[in-house]
Assembly symmetry: C2
Homo-oligomer: 379 residues x 2
């Protein structure tokens, strides 16, 4: 049973219950617009990753600004997107298991569905599931371009899989996925440029091998918020999968641009609000948001508007702020905004987005409450 | 909207969709029985922490074996427990904010409710909320016994709060909470013994100060799975709050007993099952369970039954297993059981428990599917 929402449209920000996921709607909309402009200028398509926001409402806003559909990482996420009105979903991930494949194939009756593979056995199982359901599923071959996770080697191994896909009546060969996850968080622009240059060599080489085998490669897809400008300008990518750009987390803000300044193309638009629930000593303020309200895999959250306050350590339901060096120390009951270290797993901990208009104004108000509809979509 | 369950009673374990939270019912029931025996022998009460399991079904099983009620960390968790039929709940945490206090007071109409405080302003707000609702709420004073989180100093500061509680018609002074969270994970028995000995000095000192002020101290509550035997034998604790003992995670299993062997009073009864979704290179198997299916704050999960396999690094929906040194390397589609590093935040990522009977047998079967009813109960 999902939790009751922490707010109602019209509420003042100060009255939103905590911990809650707060969206600064003004910054969020500017972020959506900036990305739409960037991909339009570059002449590439945007298929934003919905594994980050898990919300068909947000996906439809992205599509209204030109995105061609969304990416998902799980079949159950894709189901939520299709139920929410999105007609074109790429599951940018390998899908293994008969139950998942049957669900994926069933979804292809309602929407344009594609999926990625990196193994011949997957192609056979997918072809059988699609044939049983009487549908056609698009398939892209994932190549490992440096992420060292999934994906076959670029070149001949990818061609062999593409040929096998092309030989299946229930499948449609849609192209290549070349996503370099680790490159997104390389801190210097030079490192990211070198990584994506290497990705492009792999993609060109694989496209040439496909052409030699007589196979067209309709789409090359990849990229994230940290590198999307490089893939967009590469001439070899057709679609970009960036997701975090909507919200920008503390970790992406640690990336540097080529002039050495911090990456600020997008604004922080996602916050977790927390209440000071205990002030047992002058130097410590305890917040009501810990491991169950925030993700810590990319470091602790940053505090907004309290110079010197450092989120020191989480426990399950608590966060200890060190306020030793603060001039104005937070008081019991104060509400504080935190910028999550990593937005994707933070969003997945919450049932609701609370959309706030005028966050920077003196009268921030709740405008909307959206479900995190695909939260917990693990399958 | 919660996800569909990954299994149906009667299913074979091999057919449970992944990633899923698997309970070894046999080990779980043995763990419940061992704790019930231990507290009965020691002559103390058990009030297990439901922040760990978030399930009234499990809470009722604990009560059936003698527990006096459950602890919760959040008001919204307590609501789920009361809705599920539990009649006695201690919110073992400070509650700040008028919305939360109104919900807490409303709950006291349906069940015996208590809460902890560490500040005079909390007592005033709680008394007002209880008076408005026309209920009596039990209140315990939290003292900081070394956790360096919430709680007033032992001694006079605690007595002042107790006096204030005793002076409010809508509140009932129930005693002291003295929980040393950090002591739970001290690795050697000597360190844990020293930490809890110090806790007991603080508690005795505070109880004496309360007696001097003419205040009875009905209950001293605290303890966790790592130290419960010490508090049970101390003569100063009346109630134990241990929660993880039901499931035992990888982190608790790193504690040592006084003879130097690993802490094995309880068995691992909680697992996350995962599927091998990609085997791109001989030395790597990629699982479909990452940051959104497992908590990593206490280290990565351990694999069951694949000697040499090491869960190396998670990403949002993937886990890379290094299988270099495995004799029998996992194959695409294999299902693997993982022991979570930390059970509490892992449980909170899932909508369903899949209870399996005969996990160690050749025919493990799903016996029950229980909702993680208070998952996401943040408020």
């Amino acid at each position: 049973m999902p939790q009751l929402p922490p707010a109602t449209p019209g509420d003042r920000l100060a009255d939103v219950d905590t911990p809650a996921l707060i969206v600064d709607l003004d910054a969020f909309e500017r972020n959506l617009g900036r990305m739409a402009d960037a991909v339009a200028m570059a002449g590439v398509r945007l298929r934003p990753h919905a594994k980050m926001h898990k919300s068909p409402i947000i996906g439809l806003k992205q599509i209204a600004l030109g995105a061609v559909g969304v990416c998902c990482q799980k079949v159950s996420e894709a189901e939520v997107m299709v139920q929410g009105g999105i007609g074109d979903v790429l599951v940018s991930n390998e899908v293994v298991g008969s139950r998942k494949l049957a669900r994926l194939a069933a979804l292809a009756r309602q929407a344009r569905i594609a999926v990625v593979v990196d193994d011949e056995a997957m192609i056979d199982a997918l072809a059988a599931a699609a044939a049983t359901a009487g549908v056609t599923v698009g398939v892209l071959v994932e190549i490992d371009v440096g992420a060292n996770r999934c994906g076959v080697a670029p070149g001949p191994a990818a061609v062999r899989l593409a040929q096998r896909i092309a030989g299946e009546a229930s499948l449609r060969f849609d192209g290549l996925q070349a996503y370099h996850g680790r490159a997104q968080h390389l801190r210097s622009a030079e490192e990211r440029r070198a990584a994506i240059a290497s990705v492009c060599v792999d993609v060109r080489h694989t496209k040439a091998a496909l052409a030699e085998a007589g196979l067209a490669c309709p789409t090359v897809t990849g990229a994230g918020t940290g590198t999307f400008e490089l893939e967009a300008a590469s001439g070899v990518f057709d679609e970009l999968q960036a997701g975090s750009y909507c919200f920008m987390d503390a970790d992406y803000a640690r990336n540097r641009k080529s002039d050495g300044t911090f990456f600020n193309t997008f604004e922080h638009a996602l916050f977790v609000s927390a209440t000071v629930m205990s002030t047992p000593r002058p130097e410590r303020a305890v917040l009501d948001a810990g491991l169950k309200a925030l993700a810590f895999d990319s470091g602790p959250p940053e505090t907004v508007g309290i110079a010197g306050a450092v989120y020191e350590r989480p426990s399950d339901e608590h966060g200890c702020l060190d306020v030793t060096t603060c001039n104005a120390r937070p008081k019991l009951g104060d509400k504080i905004l935190l910028i999550p270290g990593h937005c994707d797993p933070t969003v997945n901990l919450h049932d609701w987005y609370v959309g706030v208009r005028g966050l920077a104004s003196s009268q921030p108000r709740v405008e909307c409450v959206w479900p995190v509809a695909a939260r917990g979509a693990l399958f």
